[in-house]
C-alpha cells in the first residue's frame, strides 16, 4: 500500500495528529504532513478545529457526511 493510501486510511479510521499518524504507520512526519496537506486541499480531509473537532454544533451527518468525518465518533448517524 502506498503512503498516500495508508495515511488516508489511517486518518479515516483513527484520526490523530500528523505526528501520531506518522508514529502509527512508521512514516516520516513530514511525509504525513504533506499527504494531509494535499488531501485537505482536495477537500477529502479536514483538520481539527473545523467542523467536528471544534466542538461547535452543526456536525453534518447522514448521506452528506464528508469524507473527512468518516470514522468520527461525533458524527451524527
Amino acid at each position: 500500500m502506498s503512503a498516500w493510501a495508508a495515511v488516508l486510511d489511517e486518518v479515516a479510521v483513527a484520526g490523530g495528529t500528523p505526528g501520531q499518524v506518522a508514529a502509527r504507520l512508521g512514516l516520516q512526519t513530514s511525509l504525513v504532513k504533506a499527504v494531509l496537506d494535499h488531501a485537505e486541499r482536495l477537500g477529502v480531509v479536514a483538520v481539527a478545529g473545523n467542523g467536528c473537532g471544534s466542538g461547535r454544533p452543526g456536525c453534518p451527518g447522514g448521506p452528506d457526511v464528508p469524507p473527512a468525518c468518516a470514522g468520527c465518533p461525533l458524527a451524527l448517524p
Partner: protein, 704 residues
C-alpha cells in the same frame, strides 16, 4: 543509476562555461514552503539590492532584487539576475491569494519558456532538509510545470536534531550529492548565513548552467515542456483550475507521493541506509522527542501557553509604547527644536524670515517630516520584535494557542497579534497584518484595527475623564478600553455577516517550525526594508496632509489678517470646524472647539489635547493651572452644547474619538496595504458608525 554523484553533478560540471557566457538578465524565482529559510537565502543573494512590490492586481507583497555575482574571469563583466522571493507555499494547489501568486508566477514562467528557444528563467526550489518529504512533494509539482529547476538544500544546521528522517542526519555534501543523482538536477547545499562558504557561488553556477541547458526532474513527466518533454500544446495540469474530477485528482496525488517515496528510497539506497517501510499495525514506534517537542508541551498547553502568550504580547506592547517613547521624544525635540531653529535662521538669512514661506516650511513641511520620523522608533521596534518572534518560531505557537478565540470572527489565531498591537499603535498593527496568510483576512483585520484604542487616544481620555468624572476617571478610562474590545468584536461579527461573508477561518493545520536563534543580520535587513517602505510610501501622504492642514490654518477668512499670520479662530480651518459642529449637535458636543479638535485628531490623536488648549486659548502644557482651567472651559462649552448634560456629551465625545477614524498615518498605511477603495469605504463606515454610537451614548446618557 550511479550513486556517486556530487552536489555539483554533470550540469554543474558544465557550469564553468555557462557562467562565462554572457547571459541576459535572467529571472530567478525562489519557491519553497514557509519557514524553510527562503527569505534568508534571498537576503544572502541580494544583500541591499532589493525592494518590495505588490504582485500585479493583488495586495500580495513580493520581495524582488538583483542577484549579482562576479564574473568567472577578471576581464569579464559581473553577472546580474532578477530574483523574486515568491510567497511560501506547501503546494501549487493554491488556497490563498499569496499561494496563488506563487502558482501563477510559475505557470507564467513555464508559458514564456515554452514560447521561446531561450530560457528566460530558472526556479530555485528550496528544500528543507528537516522535512524532505514535504519539500519533495512541492518539488514534484513545480517539476510538472516544466520550468528549469535548481534545488537549494537548506536547514542543514537543524537537520541533526530536528528530524524524524535518518536522511537529514547524513553529511550535507553526501546528502546533496545523493539527491542530485536521484533527481537528475543540480542540488546545492546552502548555508545562507555564511556568505563566503554557504553555497551562494555554487548556486549561481548551477542557476546559470540550468538556464543554458535545462534538465528534467527524473521520474516526473511535465505536462508540457520545451526542453525535456517536447509536447507543447499538451493539456496542462493547472493547479489553480477547479478540480472537478476528484477521482483523477486522487490518482494524480497518489502518483506524486509514490514519486516522493521513490526518491526517498533511492537516496536511502545511495546512502546505504535502511529503506523506510510502512509498519504493520502490530509494530508501532515512538518518535524521538526533539527540543522543540519538549518546549511545545508547555507552550502549546492551553493552561501554560495562554499566560505565556499574554506575557509575550504585554512585552510587545511595552516595547512598542514605552521603549520607543524616549526615542520619539528625542526626535520630536530635535525636529521642533534645533532643526526648526536652523531652518528659521537660514530663511532669515535669505530674507524670508517671518513670511508665509517660513510658515509653510517650518510649520507645514518640517512638522510633517517630524511626524514621519517620530514614528520610526515605533515601527522599528515593532518590526524587530515581530521578526524575533517569527524567526524564533514562537509566532506560529502563539497563533496556534489563540486560534480558537479568533475563529468566531472568521479569523485564525494569527489575527490576534495585530489586533493587540493596535492598542499600542494602529500603524505597526496594520503593518503586522502581513503575518496573515490570506488577503481577505488581512483586509478584515485591517478594518478592525482602527477600532482598537491606541495609546494616543489615552491622552484625550485622561483629559476628558479628569475634567468630567474626576472621582471615577480610572473607571471611565477602563470602560473606554472595554468599549474598544466590544467594538472590535461587534465590528468583526457585523463585517462577517455583510461585506466579508466569504471570509472563513481556513483550515489551520499549522506546521510548527523548529525553534531557532534569530539571525541578527536577516532581522536587521528585514527591519530596514520594512521601515524604509513605510517612510517612502506612507511618509509622502503624511507630509502632504500636514502641509494641507497648515495651509488651512494659514488662510484667513475675514481678510483682516495676512496669509500665515492668522489667529486660529479666523482661519479657514476653524471655519470648516464651525461648519461641522452642527452635525455633532445630536451627540451633545456640537461646539467649534470639539469639532476643531476632532479635525486635528484626524491628523494625529496626540494633538487633540493641544488643539483644545489652543482653541480655548489657555496656558500651554506645563503650566500648573492648565488642567484646571482647560477642564473648566471644557465643562462650560460641553454643558452649553448639550443642554446641561456635559458628562453625557463628554462620554459621547470619547466614544466618537475612539471610533471615528484612525490618524492620517494609519490611513496612509491602510491605503498602502489595501488600496484606496477599502480605505475610503472603511473611513466612511467608521464615521457613520462613530456618529451613531456617539448620538446613542449621549441620548441615553442625558436621559439617565
Amino acid at each position: 543509476m550511479s550513486c556517486h554523484g556530487t552536489a555539483q553533478n554533470p550540469v554543474l560540471s558544465r557550469s564553468g562555461e555557462a557562467a562565462l557566457a554572457p547571459l541576459p538578465l535572467l529571472r530567478v524565482l525562489l519557491v519553497g514552503g514557509p519557514n524553510v529559510g527562503k527569505s534568508t537565502l534571498f537576503n544572502a543573494l541580494t544583500g541591499s539590492r532589493q525592494h518590495t512590490t505588490n504582485a500585479p492586481g493583488t495586495t500580495v507583497e513580493l520581495a524582488t532584487g538583483t542577484w549579482r555575482t562576479a564574473a568567472g574571469d577578471p576581464a569579464g563583466a559581473a553577472v546580474e539576475r532578477e530574483i523574486i522571493d515568491l510567497p511560501g507555499t506547501y503546494s501549487l494547489l493554491a488556497r490563498s491569494s499569496d499561494e496563488q501568486v506563487t502558482t501563477d508566477a510559475l505557470w507564467e514562467l513555464a508559458r514564456i519558456s515554452r514560447q521561446t528557444s531561450a530560457h528566460p528563467g530558472v526556479v530555485v526550489v528550496v528544500l528543507d532538509a528537516t522535512a524532505l518529504a514535504r519539500s519533495l512533494y512541492l518539488l514534484a509539482q513545480v517539476a510538472e510545470t516544466g520550468v528549469p529547476i535548481v534545488v537549494a538544500l537548506t536547514m542543514l544546521d537543524l537537520a541533526t536534531t530536528a528530524t524524524d528522517s535518518p536522511l537529514a542526519r547524513e553529511d550535507p555534501e553526501t546528502l546533496a550529492g545523493a539527491l542530485a543523482t536521484t533527481l537528475g538536477i543540480p542540488v546545492v547545499r546552502m548555508d545562507a548565513r555564511n556568505r563566503t562558504a554557504g553555497g551562494v557561488s555554487e548556486l549561481a553556477g548551477a542557476v546559470d548552467a540550468v538556464a543554458e541547458l535545462p534538465l528534467c526532474v527524473r521520474g516526473i513527466a511535465p505536462s508540457t515542456s520545451s526542453f525535456c518533454y517536447g509536447a507543447p500544446g499538451a493539456a496542462l495540469r493547472q493547479y489553480d483550475a477547479p478540480h472537478d474530477d476528484l477521482e483523477s485528482e486522487l490518482e494524480h496525488a497518489e502518483a506524486l507521493f509514490d514519486w516522493v517515496e521513490h526518491v526517498d528510497e533511492q537516496v536511502n539506497s545511495c546512502l546505504a541506509l535502511p529503506l523506510p517501510r510502512l509498519l504493520p499495525e502490530s509494530e508501532p514506534r515512538r518518535l524521538r522527542r526533539t527540543f522543540s517537542d519538549r518546549v511545545d508541551t508547555v507552550l502549546l498547553n492551553p493552561w501554560a501557553g495562554i499566560p505565556v502568550f499574554l506575557a509575550v504580547v504585554w512585552l510587545l506592547f511595552e516595547l512598542t509604547t514605552r521603549f520607543a517613547a524616549p526615542l520619539q521624544s528625542a526626535i520630536n525635540q530635535l525636529v521642533n527644536g534645533p532643526l526648526a531653529a536652523a531652518v528659521t535662521w537660514l530663511l532669515g538669512l535669505l530674507g524670508l524670515g517671518d513670511s508665509w514661506v517660513q510658515g509653510l516650511l517650518v510649520d507645514g513641511l518640517l512638522v510633517g517630516v517630524g511626524t514621519v520620523l517620530t514614528f520610526l522608533p515605533v515601527m522599528a521596534v515593532m518590526f524587530a520584535a515581530l521578526g524575533v518572534l517569527e524567526d524564533s518560531g514562537y509566532l506560529a505557537r502563539a497563533a496556534f494557542v489563540a486560534d480558537r478565540a479568533m475563529r468566531s470572527l472568521g479569523l485564525d489565531g494569527r489575527a490576534l497579534l495585530p489586533l493587540i498591537v493596535g492598542f499600542g499603535c494602529n500603524l505597526p498593527a496594520l503593518a503586522a497584518t502581513r503575518t496573515l496568510p490570506r488577503a481577505r483576512q488581512r483586509l478584515l483585520t485591517g478594518m478592525l484595527i482602527p477600532l482598537t484604542s491606541c495609546s494616543a487616544r489615552l491622552t484625550v481620555y485622561v483629559l476628558m475623564a479628569s475634567a468630567f468624572f474626576p472621582d471615577h476617571a480610572g473607571t471611565v478610562i477602563f470602560a473606554m478600553y472595554l468599549t474598544s474590545v466590544l467594538l472590535v468584536l461587534g465590528g468583526g461579527l457585523l463585517l462577517r455577516r455583510t461585506a466579508f461573508r466569504d471570509v472563513h477561518a481556513g483550515p489551520f493545520m499549522l506546521v510548527l517550525p523548529q525553534y531557532q536563534r534569530p539571525h541578527l543580520r536577516t532581522l536587521a535587513m528585514s527591519v530596514r526594508l520594512r521601515v524604509g517602505s513605510f517612510v517612502v510610501r506612507a511618509g509622502k501622504i503624511i507630509v502632504l496632509t500636514m502641509v494641507i492642514v497648515w495651509a488651512l490654518m494659514a488662510v484667513p477668512v475675514s481678510g483682516q489678517h495676512s496669509v500665515g499670520h492668522v489667529p486660529v479662530t479666523d482661519s479657514l480651518y476653524y471655519s470648516v470646524a464651525s461648519g461641522i459642529a452642527p452635525m455633532l449637535a445630536p451627540a451633545g458636543f456640537g461646539n467649534d472647539h470639539a469639532a476643531a479638535a476632532l479635525m486635528t485628531g484626524f491628523v494625529a490623536k496626540e494633538v487633540v489635547v493641544g488643539s483644545f488648549a489652543q482653541s480655548y486659548a489657555v496656558a500651554e502644557p506645563g503650566s500648573p493651572t492648565r488642567a484646571e482651567s482647560l477642564g473648566e472651559r471644557l465643562r462650560t462649552s460641553f454643558a452649553e452644547s448639550s443642554g446641561g448634560h456635559g458628562g453625557a456629551a463628554a462620554l459621547a465625545f470619547m466614544v466618537f474619538l475612539l471610533a471615528y477614524t484612525p490618524c492620517v498615518a494609519a490611513l496612509a498605511e491602510q491605503r498602502r496595504l489595501f488600496g484606496w477603495r477599502p480605505t475610503v469605504s472603511a473611513l466612511t463606515a467608521q464615521l457613520a458608525g462613530a456618529w451613531l454610537l456617539a448620538v446613542l451614548v449621549f441620548q441615553v446618557g442625558s436621559r439617565l
